[in-house]
Every structure is written in structure tokens, then in C-alpha cells.
């Protein structure tokens, strides 16, 4: 066993004292992300706790989606580590990693539905691959998941036959196929009209409440951030570091960095906070 996956070493507080906290689901330690020589973000440190709706926010091009892609293993860190619970994801063996992956659900920015399969087949594929259920049971579960996201009756549609908002919801149904502990959303409201976007937010909150899942959302939609976010990290594009952590509603009022306040107030200072609609 490598040192890094030692559970005691895995989670430490700022002073380096080992902490074994049952409630910490994801720990990002000293993460530096880079493409070749170009450093996207450096020295990221944060934790996501059980039941959080954790927002990764920041201006365009700051590396929000890149951070998400690191967290789900599509990109390898230049430095640092990511832990799920007390297990290192970065250092995990391929088998271990596959096992961890199966506890995630990911909703991609474009939906990422397999375009050659119907919606029901999309949801059914992970079930068929990773469970021993009978085909009839898999079909039932697929229909259930589709009805959870309001797509009952669309089982035999292909992704290209439905609207963008429906594709997002179908993607969510697929992400939930294996009843994951952690759901990742990459820009869920991108390309959606305000009403669909709001409905998706409500859906996320409902799912969070009933599944008790931990949710990580990449977004820059302020309305979504304040509606669903319980915790957040702000990535600053100029310094290439994370500059704020915490509940976005509190950050908006009280964060010492004016850049963070301006972002959360649509460019205005916090005195005008009242104009931003809050649930």
C-alpha cells in the first residue's frame, strides 16, 4: 500500500493533524492541473461533505470543467491527489478505480447520451453491465429512472429526437442508473431556457433530498448557484488559484475578495445584492 492511500494520512486539517471524518466524501489535496506547460489551476485544497450540493464556480475559462474532469478521472493531475472517503482515487489500481467510478453518476454538458441507443437502452446499459438483474427488471428500472426525470413514455426515443432540456434530463436518468452516492453535473443549465433550467435545479434538489446523494455542480449561473448551492469553491482565473470557499449566499455578502463579491453579484458590489433573485 502506498503512503498516499493510507487512510490516516489521507485526510488532514490545515495544521496537518490527521482527521477521520465520516462525513467527508471527497477531498482534493494540493491539486495542480496543467496541460503541458500551461497551468490551469494550482494548489487546490477543498473537501466536499456528505449531502452537500457543492458548486464549482468561476469565470469563463478558469478551469471549472477541467477540475470536474480531474475529479472523475478523465484527466490526470499534474500534482496532488483526489480522495473519495479515505481512498485515494488518483493512486488507485485500475480495478479499485473502476469500483469507485461505479459509485459516481456524471451528467455531461452536452448530455453525452449514446446516440445510437434509445433512452431506455442508455439507462439500461450500466445496469446490464454491472448488475445481475434479469432483463425484465432492468427494463423496469430504466422506465422508473426515466419517469423520475419526467420522461415516462419516452423509452424508445433516440437522443436526437428529443429537445436539449430532455436530453439533459435523460442524461440525469442515466447518471442515476446505478444509484450512485455522488452525482457530478457539468454546466447543467447551459443551453436551457430559464424555465427548463429552473425545473432542472428543482429536480436536483429533490433528488438530493430523497437520495441523500452528494452533488457536485460546475456552473456559473447565479440563479442556480444560490438556489441549490450549500457549499462552493471559487476559481480565480487571474491568479489561477481557488480564492473562496463556503456557502455562496454568505460569500456574496461577506467575502473579503471584491472579485468574488462582484462575480456573485453580476459585476455589481454587494450593496446591490437585493437585486439578485434569491429563493
Amino acid at each position: 500500500m502506498s503512503l498516499a492511500s493510507d487512510p490516516v494520512r489521507a485526510v488532514r486539517d490545515e495544521k496537518g493533524t490527521p482527521v477521520l471524518d465520516e462525513n467527508v466524501r471527497i477531498t482534493v489535496r494540493d491539486l495542480t492541473m496543467a496541460f503541458g506547460d500551461f497551468v490551469v489551476m494550482r494548489d487546490l485544497n477543498f473537501t466536499v461533505r456528505r449531502g452537500d450540493v457543492f458548486i464549482i464556480m468561476g469565470g469563463s475559462g478558469c478551469g471549472k470543467s477541467t477540475l470536474l474532469r480531474h475529479m472523475i478521472g478523465l484527466l490526470e493531475p499534474a500534482k496532488g491527489e483526489i480522495f473519495y472517503g479515505n481512498e485515494s482515487f488518483t493512486m488507485a489500481s485500475p480495478e479499485k478505480r473502476e469500483e469507485l467510478l461505479r459509485r459516481f453518476g456524471v451528467l455531461y454538458q452536452t448530455g453525452g447520451l449514446w446516440s445510437s441507443m434509445t433512452l431506455a437502452e442508455n439507462v439500461a446499459l450500466p445496469l446490464a453491465e454491472f448488475t445481475d438483474l434479469k432483463p425484465a427488471q432492468i427494463e423496469e428500472i430504466a422506465s422508473l429512472k426515466l419517469s423520475l426525470v419526467g420522461l415516462a413514455g419516452f423509452e424508445d426515443y433516440y437522443p436526437s429526437q428529443i429537445s436539449g432540456g430532455m436530453q439533459k434530463r435523460a442524461g440525469l436518468a442515466r447518471a442515476m442508473a446505478l444509484d450512485p452516492d455522488i452525482l457530478f453535473f457539468d454546466e447543467p443549465s447551459a443551453g436551457l431556457d430559464p424555465i427548463s433550467s429552473r425545473l432542472l435545479d428543482e429536480l436536483i434538489l429533490e433528488l438530493q433530498a430523497s437520495l441523500g446523494a452528494t452533488i457536485v455542480v460546475v456552473t456559473h449561473e447565479l440563479a442556480s448557484i444560490f438556489t441549490i448551492g450549500s457549499n462552493s469553491v471559487y476559481l480565480d482565473v487571474d491568479t489561477r488559484m481557488a480564492t473562496a470557499f463556503g456557502n455562496p449566499r454568505e460569500l456574496r455578502q461577506a467575502h473579503p475578495d471584491p472579485k468574488v463579491r462582484r462575480f456573485l453579484n453580476r459585476g455589481a458590489e454587494s450593496e446591490e445584492a437585493g437585486h439578485v433573485q434569491e429563493k
Binding site: L74, L101, G112, W114
Partner: protein, 377 residues
């Protein structure tokens, strides 16, 4: 249209300030004057500042803006400031917007002109990377086949059958057409030469051996590279753009097993069958020329073909076809998986898939020729 002419009039004022009068149509639709001459004129008068009078301007658009930006830039080099009060309000607003965000440092550095030597180096490095990537891909494919043999590979058998249908039955019409024509071409070329010796009947041998040993496998290979290899690259490329491949990876499903394996198996199984069919149709093309053009009897043609073509010729051709099939599927899938994230990248991946597979087929054909010669087959 009778455009009012665009005019620039520079005059020196009494207060040491130059006045530039702009008049007429300042539009990208018409002709635009260059600012150098006017700037030189202004510099000559040596003013402390430049003012503008634009009351004579008929209509303006971006044409006026680019003129002014360069004009002011030229004057700034001589330390002459300009007073924008005389410009139309819209122009001032646009100039202000254009200058609001300073150019990001290094943003322009992207497109650096390389010296021939440097670009040779860049290309050489790219070739090196390409070779490594190809080897890695081949290695991963082998691993995928190993896990298939161990019964652990994940893909849908329904996909496999679909790909077999696409690469097999649906390719028959085009393979028929090409093979028949190749057979007749071979027969005609042979007939012209053999007629000189009165040996027309040997057209049967020529067509038979050529089709079975070389042309059947190669023509099928080239048709399939353009047809199926290209489609594999396009499918995988667009799946990549659409994040479908990411979705497989994060679900713990190896895209290589799920997407590449069934395609490779389908093509490797279908190519030998197509090749066999192509051999047959090519020989029929030869028969058609022999019977219609050379007055040979179909019976004699059949006897000569049977006498000329041996089982090892047939087996050799089919072996080649299987190898070509694997190469086509390999390069089709490799280029698809390597595709970038844009529609033009998918197009490029498709092109590269076809080019790489055809090159690979020809190279493999050469290697086979040498090996068969050495082995005396």
C-alpha cells in the same frame, strides 16, 4: 450608384492644431483611402494636436473605424495626440469599446512563423508522437482481446451483429461492381498482349491468378477502407465530440472494449468472406470478356481457371484480406479515438483513417509479396 467621393482634407490651424476634414462615404462597401498619406501630411505641419471635422461625412461604418485607428496610431508614433470631440458620437463609442480591453499579452504569439528547419523538427516530433500513440493503441487493443479471451470484455453482441451486417452484406453491391470491373479490365489488358501470340485462352489464367492472389484482397481492402474505415472514424470521432466516450469511461466501461472490439472483430470476420466473393465476381468479369470479346467457351475458360488457380493462392489471398481487415479497423478506430473536439476534427480524423489504412494495406501487400516469394508460395 454615384457614391459621393471619400475625401480627406488636412489643414493647419492658427492655434498650432491640425484640422482633418473627412467627408463623403466611409464604408467597407466602397473604396477606403489609406491613412499613411494623410498622416504624413499632418506630421509635416507639426501640430500640437489633431482635431477632426466630420460634418461632411455621408455615411460611415467599420471602414471609418479602421482608418481612424491606424491614423491615430501613426500620429501617436510622432507624439501627436488627437482630439476626438469632432468625431460622430457612434464612432467615439466604438473606438472606446475597441480600446476598453487591452490586448492580452501572448495571445497573438499563437501563430508564430517557423523557420523551415524548426517546422521540420516539429513535424519529426509529431511523427514520433504519432508512432508512440499508434503502438499504445495496438497494445491496448491486444489487451482488450486478451480480456475478451478471458471472457471479461464488455460489449453488446447485438452491436457486433450490426457491424457485421454493415461491413458484410451491405458492402456487397459496391464490392460486386468494383470486382467485376477489375476482372474485365485485367481481361482486356491481358487479351491485347496474349492475342499477339494467339494465346487468348491464357486470359483465364491471368485473371484467375491476379484476382485470387492480389486484386481480390486489395480491391476489397481499398473499398472497405473508404467505406467502413471512414465510417468507424467518423462514428467514434463524433461520439468523442458528444462526450459519449467520456460517459463510457466514467461508467467504468472501457471504450476500447465496448466500441473498438466489436468493430475489429466484425471487419476481421467479414473481410475474408468479401474477398472470396470478390475473387469470384472478378473471375466472372474475366469470363464475360472471354466469352463476348474473345469467343472463348465458358467451359474452356472454367477449365483453364481451375487449372491455374491453386488452393494455396486462394488461402494466401484470404489471409491477406483478414490482415487488411484488421488494419482498416485498427486505423479507422485509432483515428476516431484520436479525433479532436470539433466538427472539422472529425472530418480530419475520417480523412486520416482512409489515408492511413490504404497506406497500411499497400505496405502489408509489399511485405506479403516478399514473404510469399521467399517461401515460394
Amino acid at each position: 450608384m454615384g457614391n459621393p467621393a471619400t475625401s480627406i482634407d488636412v489643414s493647419a490651424g492658427h492655434d498650432g492644431r491640425a484640422l482633418v476634414k473627412l467627408a463623403g462615404l466611409w464604408s467597407i462597401q466602397g473604396e477606403l483611402p489609406e491613412p499613411e498619406a494623410a498622416a504624413a501630411q499632418v506630421v509635416e505641419t507639426g501640430p500640437s494636436e489633431v482635431r477632426f471635422d466630420t460634418s461632411g461625412i455621408d455615411r460611415w461604418d467599420s471602414g471609418l473605424l479602421i482608418f481612424l485607428i491606424r491614423f491615430e496610431h501613426l500620429l501617436a508614433e510622432h507624439g501627436i495626440p488627437s482630439e476626438r470631440a469632432g468625431l460622430p458620437e457612434g464612432v467615439r463609442g466604438m473606438l472606446h469599446l475597441a480600446e476598453a480591453v487591452p490586448e492580452r499579452e501572448g495571445a497573438r504569439g499563437q501563430a508564430v512563423e517557423l523557420t523551415p528547419l524548426a517546422s521540420l523538427g516539429v513535424h519529426a516530433k509529431a511523427v514520433g508522437h504519432g508512432a508512440t500513440a499508434t503502438l499504445e493503441f495496438v497494445g491496448s487493443c491486444v489487451l482488450a482481446f486478451v480480456s475478451l479471451a478471458a471472457g471479461k470484455a464488455r460489449f453488446r453482441t447485438s452491436d457486433l451483429f450490426l457491424f457485421m451486417q454493415e461491413a458484410g452484406a451491405e458492402a456487397l453491391p459496391i464490392v460486386t461492381l468494383i470486382s467485376f470491373l477489375v476482372g474485365t479490365i485485367l481481361a482486356f489488358v491481358g487479351a491485347v498482349q496474349l492475342e499477339q501470340f494467339g494465346a487468348e485462352i491464357y486470359v483465364a489464367n491471368l485473371v484467375g491468378i491476379a484476382m485470387v492472389r492480389e486484386m481480390g484482397a486489395m480491391m476489397t481492402g481499398i473499398v472497405m477502407a473508404g467505406r467502413t474505415g471512414a465510417s468507424y472514424a467518423a462514428q467514434l470521432g463524433s461520439m468523442k465530440v458528444n462526450q459519449e466516450i467520456d460517459a463510457l469511461s466514467t461508467m467504468g466501461i472501457d471504450p476500447l472494449e465496448f466500441l473498438v472490439l466489436p468493430r475489429m472483430i466484425a471487419l476481421a470476420l467479414m473481410m475474408p468472406l468479401l474477398c472470396l466473393y470478390s475473387d469470384l465476381v472478378g473471375i466472372l468479369g474475366g469470363v464475360a470478356v472471354g466469352v463476348v470479346g474473345l469467343d472463348l467457351s465458358a467451359r474452356t475458360y472454367y477449365e483453364y481457371t481451375k487449372w491455374a488457380v491453386g488452393v494455396d493462392d486462394l488461402v494466401g489471398g484470404i489471409l491477406k484480406a483478414s490482415v487488411y481487415g484488421i488494419l482498416i479497423a485498427l486505423f479507422g478506430c485509432l483515428r476516431g479515438m484520436q479525433s479532436g473536439n470539433s466538427s472539422s476534427a472529425v472530418g480530419e480524423a475520417t480523412t486520416r483513417a482512409v489515408v492511413s489504412s490504404i497506406v497500411a494495406i499497400i505496405v502489408a501487400c509489399g511485405i506479403f509479396a516478399v514473404v510469399f516469394y521467399v517461401l515460394g508460395i
